[in-house]
Amino acid sequence: MGVLPQPSASSESLVLRIWPCGETSVIASLLTQDHGYVKVIAKAARRPNSRLRALVEPGRLVSAEFSLDPSRELQYLRGGSVEKDPLGPGSTLEDSAFLQGALELVDRCRPHGGGSDDQDDHDPTAELFAICDAFIRVLSSRSCPHPDLAFFVFEWELLVSHGMAPEVAGCTACGLPPAEVSELTMWFSPAEGGLICGDCSRGDGVSSGKPLSLDALQIFESMAERQLDLADDIPFERPLRREIGAHLHNFLGYHLPGYRLPAALELLRARKDPNR
């Protein structure tokens, strides 16, 4: 008697989270390029000689082979190979914190729709995978002098993928281009959807907005035009980092349901205590 072949799939995937299952197995949540979010069980992956062990580490980009049975919530991970390991030798605490922060955001702020069954040409999960893929490759290459900037680009692209790209080409209310707005009166407002000039900011409409510096605007413009070369060692001092981080955090919090500041970013508060 013949045996029917089990339906299976192979796809580039990002490991988002893992949970131990039983004594030796692991359940992993994957964001796949072709099949959206997939949960797999890697049987015996915690055994020392398991070939699946390396495939179920959060943050790794893997080429995963798994069963694809629509009637099952949990698919079987059958094999694959590791494509990128962002936390290899030479990685820093910043790499680790931003990587895990990104994984947390991708896991929590899931786009609607997606997967191979979608008839629509636009596949939001495939787009999200492409954003994650680019971010992981930047982190893995160790060529980025500012992993925080890479993370901000990731957050920006996350907003774009949700259709919530901030408007920085002109004032969102009157359309005045940034060159004609005084630097002292530029605001960035999540409620208004981006840049807003001083004249338009008078009133209650931008109560949730914050002042925007020219340096931050330039970074945002580069992000919007996708012209930011993350390998460049651009001046990116702490006040500017804090400003951009705060603007994006407020914007994400306003527009993405389920968003909250990733817990992993708290790791960056590690400080040497001189009294110890």
């Binding site: 390396a54 590791v82 390991d85 936390l87 290899g88 605490l93 914190a97």
Partner: protein
């Protein structure tokens, strides 16, 4: 249908026609590494084995109770011990300038079994895992810094899992100890002794290659 473990069988005694035996099996089944079959085998061995082969239940209960009462975590290093502080922390034959950071008390055991390490330990009690809600304030990093300062440690050996959590925790410790006058080292990663190259995953192989040494 009255399957074992469906909740209904506890009152009826399940497959054993004995509620007390069923309760014992369920209790054993909750222990790590024991499936229902193994739990059943142990339970039957305890209850229905011959006197010659069975560990007396009273003896087992007394041993568990005594261990629970007496075993504790060393106040200095966090390892499992009966005398507190533990023998490793109080031994004068140990190198006090060396400290090995491990994640759990179980991680101390292979070092002590192997017997080559002559320094002391510090058990973190877990690994940083923001995704699972384990944050820096949940682990005793302050105590670790105090211990390093008090004992005039010269080398800190980080012996944590080669996982994202282990890597993150190691990087966090590195950041905390930056600028101190001590050597900070980590266990090597690579091909295990007796391991076959053909069955080694890409990441392990890559790390083994990166950290190859002159022969």
């Amino acid at each position: 249908m009255n399957r074992p473990g469906n909740g209904k069988d506890l009152n009826e005694g399940g497959e054993f026609q004995s509620p007390s035996l069923e309760r014992l099996v369920r209790s054993l089944n909750r222990l790590p590494g024991l499936g229902r079959k193994s739990a059943t085998r142990l339970a039957l061995h305890l209850v229905a084995g011959s006197e010659r082969t069975t560990v007396p239940a009273e003896e087992l209960v007394a041993a568990i109770g005594e261990a629970r009462d007496k075993v504790t975590n060393c106040e200095r290093c966090g390892a499992i011990t009966e005398p507190d502080p533990c023998r490793v922390c109080t031994s004068e034959r140990r190198d006090t300038s060396l400290i090995c950071i491990v994640a759990t008390p179980i991680d101390v055991l292979p070092f002590e079994k192997a017997g080559f390490y002559r320094g002391r330990y510090f058990v973190l009690g877990g690994l940083l895992s923001p995704l699972d809600g384990v944050r820096a304030q949940d682990l005793p990093f302050g105590k670790l810094q105090d211990r390093i300062a008090e004992d005039e440690i010269k080398e800190v050996i980080i012996a944590l899992d080669a996982s994202v959590e282990g890597e993150t925790t190691a990087l966090y410790i590195q950041r905390l100890l930056e600028g101190r006058n001590l050597e900070l080292t980590r266990l090597a990663t690579g091909i295990p002794v007796g391991g076959a190259l053909a069955y080694t995953d890409e990441v392990t192989l890559q790390r083994a290659f990166q950290f190859r040494r002159t022969f």
